[in-house]
Subunit: 247 residues, 3 copies
């Protein structure tokens, strides 16, 4: 059983954080909210999204699992105006999701969850550095880095107590340094890793400019990005594997 | 003789309703206003547009007939700002239409009306159901239907006294029901017909969101859509032939 | 030595006037401001841009010459919001230009000036007619002309004391006449020349709608367009060679 009403905006924000990595996903319809975990086909980027029942106008579920085509569900959410509500109801027999926006019904055929790539276990890493940064700063660094390179280094300078972003192109370079004062918070530790800019660009799309993003970083380790959505009633964790550094 | 001044906005609105179906058309320059009738090459969609002399700032004509390239005339209207006036004057000798917007003259070569597809006679059907609906509701139904299918069913449920729109895709379906309360008016009668979504999408483009659209509908019959433009000084009728229903 | 701070908007406006003609250019870093002169590969359009030290928030230079990739420098300026400042500093040893926007550093590799097409000498022509016209009027004439033709005639009617723009297409024509009252100023003289619309469209892109443009014109002579940028602290001159008139 699953029956819920949610604002189109909240639904879109939640789906966006997953659809930047995968086209299809499994959605856990837990009693206290929904959860989605997914990994991209190359096993490089992972997402863990939870949206609690409080993020919905109304929410009833008893622990089912459905498989959905994300772009279809985003199309549905996209039909609504920002203020409008989307009603969702699972028909267990036909395995279809009935959606309704102001009287307009869209019946979405679900996908067999077994046919969808297995959900990842996002490892519980104990990373030495933690940076709390505004979404807007990630965005401008990623945008600038993209002009010169296809990978980006994230690191912490322990001596100078600052977080830095580096992108080295064939001719041009981009560099951003943010210290305690520029950041929301900084916990220094040995950290420097190189990442694919393509993935970080996709993740950046799902991060609101005014989001407070907690970044966990190590040396040649994956980066984890955490942030709240839906006014704190939802949470997203991205994890991105490092690229091997060639010198 | 033809000499008229019209707001760029009125001219654009009028031309749009015809250009969604055809590239060229004949324009009757009657004493009391202009009239355009046109049918698309496949004989599926027809339009009958009338724009009375009252829709113009000034209007003088004595019954001529001209042939025009619609996209050219739309380009001209498109050069003007919404509030600007477009002056039109026919040069009978050279068969050119002189247009002027704030001093900028554009001389448009006309097309021999005989070389343009014959104007349709829009049949005077006596259709059993009549629905008066907001343009915005047509728009959202057509937009949603387009996500799942390339045709759309319009019908009336006589028992429940409601108008419905149905689109069945290979996996997903879209359905909208509007009753007396949702509609501006509803006169029930036996009605259910299937239409090509491509045509309805084109017609939808020419319908203002806040337009009051009268829809006449029957069983496996064409649909007629009527609405006013130019603050009631113009009127558009679209007619769309049904598709044969395959089951 | 070169070290300067300039608003992103001023930098973008200045670069745009050159980048519509060429991809790379030499920039003279004079003591009293920067200067750029460039000619397009076909030797048809030229630009002379000067931006005085007063256009900058701060400016220090001692007469160097650098070569830059314009689209790269425009990308950098494009990263900043309109109100933001761009810091520029030349590293003479590495021949790189260090730029910085709110802490974000972008290091731009410079190009050997000797590898860039030679700067043109913009001839000091004594053209008989001078028209002072709003950028908006050039824009609408060029936009309209582009619908019918790929070249455009600019001229002055000495008898009627007016400036005209003419574009003759295969079927349609565009014509604009502006007299003393429509123009900011007009000094009549024998003038009629034909120009490539492609070049004029590019130059038009770099002219603000509210700019006061001084146009110097003759018979089968190049046209010169002058206008101020950066609130009078910068100046642009475009020169466009005429096309041979075929009748």
């Amino acid at each position: 059983m699953f029956k819920a009403i949610v604002s189109a905006e909240t639904l879109r924000t939640a789906l966006d954080s997953v659809s930047v990595l995968v086209d299809e996903c499994k959605i856990h319809l837990n009693e206290d909210g929904i959860e989605i975990r997914a990994v991209d086909p190359a096993n490089v980027g992972m997402v863990d999204l939870s949206l609690s029942a409080d993020a919905f106008e109304s929410y009833e579920a008893d622990g089912g699992l459905i498989g959905v085509n994300l772009s279809r569900l985003e199309d549905i959410a996209g039909m609504a105006d920002a203020g409008q509500l989307v009603e969702l109801e699972l028909d267990e027999e036909t395995r279809k999701l009935h959606t309704q926006i102001d009287g307009l019904e869209y019946t979405l055929a679900l996908i067999d969850p077994d046919s969808i790539r297995q959900e990842p276990d996002i490892p519980d890493l104990d990373l030495p550095a933690e940076i709390v940064i505004e979404g807007a700063d990630i965005d401008r660094a990623v945008t600038a880095a993209d002009m010169v390179s296809d990978h980006i280094a994230l690191g912490v300078d322990e001596a100078d107590e600052l977080f830095y972003i580096d992108a080295e192109g064939d001719t041009d370079d981009v560099h951003l340094e943010l210290d305690q004062g520029d950041l929301i918070d900084l916990q220094v530790g040995p950290a420097h890793s190189l990442f694919s800019l393509d993935y970080l660009k996709d993740m950046d799309k799902a991060i609101a400019k005014d989001a407070e993003v907690t970044m966990e970083l190590g040396e040649e380790f994956p980066v984890k990005l955490h942030f709240d959505i839906a006014e704190g009633n939802g949470h997203v964790t991205f994890m991105l594997a490092p690229r091997i550094q060639s010198d």
